[in-house]
């Protein structure tokens, strides 16, 4: 290696990343070349300057915070996933001829739902193949249909088109895509299918007004939503997600109201405690305290988690009023 090449290698030499042979060659050259020695000193000075840079320390506390936030996000992800699968079941149910909506609609909601390939695969809609259509589609290998073509009209939007096969010889094509069709769903809010559609809207709609209306419709029905039985897990999960993570406090407030009307169980308790401990909105924290106080009274229960959370808030909440409410509730509950 010549002087220029050696000089280039000096940073790597300092980092100890050269092979033994290369390092030896550099050392030999350094002994003989003043310019490279000076360059090495200058590099060391630079390294010192940069090394003194203060860094964010990855403490156990920071790591645990990151883990907790991830845990919440993962739970949300799995719930979202399972809710979505239930919705697909529910919505495909709507389109089968067997299914009849309850009359006397209490809630009507317009939602766009992406279902896609699985949808065409699973439904048995009557086919009316138009003569002369050049688009031959196959949605299932065993059961050739032209269902997809029939859906490509009106308000349907398609997305995520993927070609699986393209045979120029025969002109056969095979592809999948998501079809997003706005659907008008009209039915009684007590109806399980309608509730699932609303649960989907609560979790997935970008529009806070839609989310609020959907949560509101479920809350309005109060006890009759559950009819004294256990609430639909998908609906409950959607409300829990909304309560814990919706950006709009109005939606969170309604979700809390709806959940407090359902049979109070561990999942709901944890969600309400989450609000008490983590919601940035003090009004929400107060509502959580009131909810806990009321249910504790009704159930005559003395839950350690609830007591601890209230104690914590009584001492350390930023908000005066929340502290006061927590103190009062604690007295009531522990009596």
């Amino acid at each position: 290696m010549n002087h220029k090449q050696i000089k280039e290698l000096l940073p790597i030499y300092l980092y100890g990343d050269l092979t033994a042979d290369e390092a030896k060659e550099v050392q030999l050259h350094l002994a003989a070349c003043g310019e490279c020695r000076a360059e090495l000193e200058s590099l060391k000075a630079f390294n010192d300057v940069v090394s003194n840079q203060p860094a964010v320390e990855v403490t156990d506390k920071l790591l645990n915070e990151a883990r907790e936030e991830l845990h919440t996000a993962l739970r949300r992800e799995t719930i979202r996933h399972s809710v979505f699968e239930k919705i697909v079941e529910g919505v495909t149910g709507i389109f089968t001829p067997r299914y009849q909506f309850a009359s006397g609609a209490a809630a009507a909601l317009l939602v766009g739902i992406g279902i896609g390939y699985i949808f065409f695969h699973q439904t048995n809609v009557e086919q009316t193949k138009e003569a002369g259509t050049s688009l031959a589609t196959e949605t299932s290998q065993s059961n050739p249909q032209s269902a997809a073509a029939d859906f490509l009209h009106g308000d349907t939007r398609t997305d995520n088109l993927h070609f699986l096969n393209l045979d120029p010889q025969s002109g056969q094509v095979e592809f999948t895509f998501d079809a997003v069709t706005p659907m008008r769903v009209k039915g009684n809010v007590n109806n399980a299918q309608v509730q699932k559609v609303m649960a989907h809207a609560i979790v997935n709609s970008d529009n806070p007004g839609v989310r609020l209306k959907a949560v509101n419709a479920l809350a309005e029905q109060g006890g009759s939503v559950t009819g004294g039985r256990d609430a639909d897990p998908a609906v409950k999960s959607a409300l829990v997600i909304a309560l814990k993570s919706d950006g709009n406090p109005g939606v969170r407030r309604e979700a809390l109201r709806a959940l407090l009307q359902m049979p109070f169980d561990k999942e709901i308790k944890e969600a309400v405690l989450f609000v008490l401990l983590h919601d940035k909105n003090s009004g929400m924290r107060v509502a959580a305290i009131n909810g806990l106080e009321l249910t504790s009274h009704e159930k005559r229960m003395n839950d350690a988690d609830v007591l601890n959370a209230l104690k914590k808030k009584m001492h350390s909440d930023d908000n005066n009023y929340v502290r006061l409410q927590a103190r009062t509730a604690l007295q009531e509950v522990s009596q």
């Binding site: 860094a55 790591l63 990151a66 993962l74």
Partner: protein
């Protein structure tokens, strides 16, 4: 890959969050450390951490069991770091000078310096220096900055960095040289 790791992966694929956590807690401190050094902010580092592991979780189904799990995690980490930088850049008002500053010109960040003028950190010389180092780092391209922090602060070997970034060792060396040259240029009054 270790048999217990494969078992955890299979459970996690089925939606078992606990198994997923057991699986990734072997590597997650390293991921957080890489991110923290790269963005030099604990909040941003946590954002990157979360994004990395959500991507890992969602990608598990497609992960080939014959490849190395840790390598895959660190590849995702570097990808998220590099794109995270650009996501923040879009929000910050970065001057065009800075974007075009591919050469070692003296066009440093006048806006940033002005905005930091009132910062109390400028009181001491050390704080001034660390501010300048921070600024100098931001002159680097995201890839140069990542390679430099992985090498200089965390001591990863060149071949490890190459594997993380899915590029050749030669590319890593070249980018590292350029990073060092540009940083020295920015900081020549201090060293």
């Amino acid at each position: 890959m270790a048999p217990h790791e494969i078992e955890l992966i299979q459970k996690a694929r089925g939606g078992d969050v606990g198994a997923f956590e057991a699986l990734v807690y072997q590597y997650d401190k390293q991921v957080l450390t890489i991110a923290a050094r790269y963005v030099n902010s604990s909040d941003d580092a946590k954002d990157i951490y979360q994004e990395v592991f959500l991507r890992v979780y969602k990608g598990l189904k497609k992960f080939q069991l014959r490849s190395e799990f840790s390598t895959w995690i660190f590849r995702i980490t570097t990808n998220v770091c590099l794109s995270y930088h650009s996501r923040r850049k879009r929000h910050a008002h970065v001057s065009l000078d800075q974007e075009q500053d591919e050469n070692d010109g003296e066009t440093s960040h006048r806006d940033e310096i002005v905005s930091e003028e009132h910062s109390p950190h400028r009181q001491t010389e050390n704080a001034e220096l660390s501010l300048r180092v921070e600024e100098a780092m931001n002159v680097l391209s995201p890839q140069q900055k990542l390679i430099f922090t992985l090498k200089h602060y965390q001591g990863y070997k060149l071949n490890e960095i190459a594997s993380m970034l899915e590029c050749s060792e030669g590319t890593v060396k070249k980018q590292l040289f350029t990073a060092v040259r540009r940083l020295r240029n920015q900081l020549k009054e201090f060293a």
